[in-house]
Symmetry: D2
């Protein structure tokens, strides 16, 4: 931490800051430059809550600058090697490219079963599908609840594909853990800290989507909630951020993929369905994500998107999904990845 004093600060201001540091068990390292007086802080800063904000309020202080990143357990500095998460036969975060596919929401047994079969046949290796759905309006479909989980579990049994499904609230974690192989925490819950604590105590991998206005730093801090509860199996998922552009539902931040890879040892997945909100943008953005180094994709597929109860506009038909899988393979190969699933 570095304290920058104002050009016009008094000597007594500097003395006060040095005293404050001393009382907090820290040491100030004074440096008087042509531009400004600057104080470097030495000691265990994290032991003093909100030290930075407090110092910024002192007279004569211009700015206090943090020089360590606030996330720890998720950082490459903490763990240099990639974290690889195994779910059934699938490895997420290694050389393989993992495709998670399925409907946005479980609606009927038929819909889930047919989608799961097609997903597997086309080379997907994980089944996605929601039983608890967050919805902007209270008048929209909110999911089938436990009945949906049962249908999804049945599709898992039949196809052998591990299941990822969303959990919305701390009370439901125990229930969802019984059915899912990976717990998903959605974008709107990225800073639902009580839920993060709870999935941090679960014994299943967690995929945490980026909040639609979350910085990368905030996202990694949200991950830190899960990791610090003991659950070290966390996957990140980029799904678009909110910008002024209104042609797409969100602006998918492809650069988050190489940035996460640089800052963190955890795997990163891309969701071009939510990332764009339009089915005809899913394929080009999926290819872009793979080329940029994503460890996997999450794609919405529906037997009949125009009758879907949720997110039909961004869901692929079976035909489009099969075509996408054929397009992905050579791009994955071009960046040194093999496909995790086996095409029928």
């Amino acid at each position: 931490m570095i304290i920058v004093m104002k050009t016009a600060c008094q000597e007594s201001d500097v003395a006060e800051v040095m005293l404050r540091l001393d009382r907090s068990g820290l040491k100030g390292h004074l440096s008087t430059g042509v531009e400004r007086t600057v104080i470097g802080v030495v000691g265990v800063i994290s032991a003093v809550p909100d030290l930075r904000e407090r110092l910024e309020l002192m007279p004569g202080v211009e700015e206090v600058i943090r020089i360590s990143r606030p996330f720890k357990l998720s950082s490459r500095e903490f763990k240099r090697e990639d974290t690889v998460i195994r779910v059934g036969d699938v490895s997420i975060g290694g050389d393989q490219l993992v495709v998670m596919a399925g409907p946005c929401a479980a609606e009927t047994r038929e819909q889930v079963m047919s989608t799961a079969r097609i997903a597997r046949a086309a080379g997907a290796s994980i089944l996605r599908g929601g039983a608890f759905k967050p919805s902007t309006s209270p008048y929209s479909f909110r999911g089938l609840g436990e009945d949906g989980l049962k249908i999804l579990a049945e599709a898992r049994e039949e196809t052998g594909l591990p299941l990822i499904t969303e959990v919305l609230t701390p009370e439901d974690v125990e229930l969802v853990v019984r059915y899912a192989d990976i717990l998903q925490v959605g974008a709107r819950n990225m800073q639902n800290f009580i839920l993060l604590d709870e999935v941090g105590r679960a014994n299943k991998p967690v995929m945490l989507k980026r909040g639609m206005s979350a910085t990368i730093e905030e996202w990694l801090l949200a991950v830190e909630y899960i990791l610090s509860q003991g659950n070290r199996q966390v996957i990140l998922c980029e799904r678009g951020i909110r910008t002024f552009e209104n042609y797409t539902r969100n602006t998918m931040d492809i650069s988050a993929i190489p940035i996460i890879d640089k800052l963190s040892h955890l795997p990163i997945i891309a969701d071009p369905s939510h990332g764009t909100g339009k089915w005809y943008l899913v394929a080009p953005m999926a290819l872009a994500a793979v080329a940029a180094g994503a460890d996997g994709l999450m794609v919405e597929v529906h037997p009949n998107p125009d009758t879907a109860l949720k997110d039909g506009a961004q869901s692929l038909t079976f035909e489009h999904f099969q075509e996408l899988m054929k397009q992905i393979a050579p791009v994955a190969a071009a960046v040194g990845r093999t496909m995790a699933g086996k095409r029928a």
Copy 2:
């Protein structure tokens, strides 16, 4: 709802759309212009889930345009007269300007008591203070929990000021209801729909903060969750949105105040402490909010901001708060408001 067909659409495309409407129990009203073929939809559209998205996927369709706003119970069309919410002696949403003041978080009995006394003496009419605190990092202070609620309740008793305090998770609603006069749902939880359902069943007014990347429409849809559960006592609170500007923590959207007043009958409060993140911007932005028509203000006050466990940088000292209250009175008067509290 209006369906705009592509310039190059086929007659069969139009026929298909008309047929689909017919099967959904709706009627299409065809209009063939110089520019485009357009179909007006007549009937109970809300009975057909996601009709808009489905239609957009049909061949020949360029765009489907919604012509009703999706929120209902909160709208001026539903209820023309202002909703005025009474809490103790205070009326929120009427002619009075209501100031809610207090510490960001309850830290100690001393801190809460002294702040509450000063707040009342300076003319505040509601006490604010948090016992459950959301925090970006798991390593920061997260509040005193029920102990904090007890301290806050004691301050309420002594000063007679009603208490507003935050609830973070559905499980805690019952507990917080026992201590609070108004439940606060924070910005990060604006789309925590399970929590919204739960406070919608509570028998206390709820103040819902705008999410930091929420549009006004999404905010009013979140309100709709609460209203549709039966709780009609909802207050909105603008607290800044996220933009590219990084001088301030958030960009306070003052225009949300007159917009909410136009679209909705519910009261709107402004929080310049979170809205800016810097104490020296609180006073000018508080005055701006009052001039723009806010029904009240929420302001963070702390006996000693530079030792605050949370949000010290945006908290006012007692002196600054007293000065602010003096500045507010003439601006409130200039826009036809009286101050709700009584200055000692």
Copy 3:
């Protein structure tokens, strides 16, 4: 400037950085903390182009942090007292609140004359109006050019109100200077550096609007172009920034008003017409700007907004403008301002 080294940097990396500083005529001040090695830089940093970026590329360097603001001539550190700009009888930046009013674009002699008379009678003290209009589409109205300037000058003669009008391109500066009392540079040209150079050499005050995605720092750097050419008469104008919110055309950043007041000695004006894009938001946002400390307002007025060739939706009728002026006076008084114009 401060150089933060990586946790895992080599001693030789530090030595290389120290050597580089030495060769650049600067001195490094080494500080080895618990967290990181940090090097404070002492010397005339501005003499070494892009030093920061270069240092960031060196091995072992984590980050290079600037500790001086990059704008100089516009800063409070350079000049402590408010700059007050006199135009005719009007002082901008002092105790008076200055209202600039008139049509978006000069369309006809009648329209300009009637608007100017009403503006003056209602208490405006400067006439605004455009002869060269930037327009998003090439198929829209682009202004009357010099004919428009002549009409505006005639209105200035008759009413005695000084004229502010926009200049779009360096070649037109000489022409516009002959007619205008204040040159306006619009939001889309905030970083048209050749134009900034040119108005910086003009002998008339310049009002520089904030670019719709400009940070406050970039805005003050654009001002710096004008000031550094010798023209010290610069007025800033906040007119809304671009955010995800789409209910309004822009999100007016009222907090820019107190921030500019803190960082700079130059006057700051608010434009609620462009800031919102909707006429019914102009009055509440104008009042908010005054309450937040703006030195003046710029407001679009039109005899018949629904036939305006440009920006009708955000223009006030004569009646609405007169009403607004009556509302402003008490708010201005409440924050210690007198009105610059005289109401008839």
Copy 4:
């Protein structure tokens, strides 16, 4: 165009709107639904300036909705086949992937020559380099001017690579046309309409960068300025937009690539150097752009980035550029593209 009336509108309001349309030479098509009264407008709407804004101001009108896109000459509806632009031996917009490489700014003859040679040897097919540089601060390097153009032209002669270079102001167009094969208009000038007019009259292809807060629609309207002056050789270039994320200089909007491909027949290029601002993100984002369907890339290369006078932090070394070119080839092949340049 469709006019949506308010729920509570009067019959006389509807009559007034119908009358207004009639007087404007248009026809209203009335449709009375369960939800709202809606009026479809038939006739040559573009003949009536700002009709939409005017109608929105009439009593009883809720909203006026545009149903045609405002850009014409650049749209796929106007011209279905891809526009392919030939510059020397290179075709932009066809099957080939075109790489434009070179320094941000021409600094010295040596720097330009060595970079041009490396660029060609590695497979680039167009040389980029700036002689007129926009710079946020007036105290930074602003380019060598015509001397820079001469150096760049010399490099073009020697290597045979066509030259793309930026023009900043209308007065310089004639000069730059003498040296350049493609004129570049930068992001900050995307809405410098006078400059767009001028390059629209030039006899050379123009590459127009997206403004950093421009919507895709505004970008295509800016293109329309150039096209409507007669110059049909326009290339678009995505270079990142401004968002709240501050880890990168901009957020590169990869989805703009498939969107432009859908909406327009013009070629689209990606600039990952400006799009990210960090050299180590250039390669993954370049690959992503190619996978998403970009017609080419623009990349900054410098013999010695850490001594570059401009944008060193985002420039690739020769080694990194050579490596990038090797990585691009298989990704380009995977999406069916051949490389335009020939590797030595």
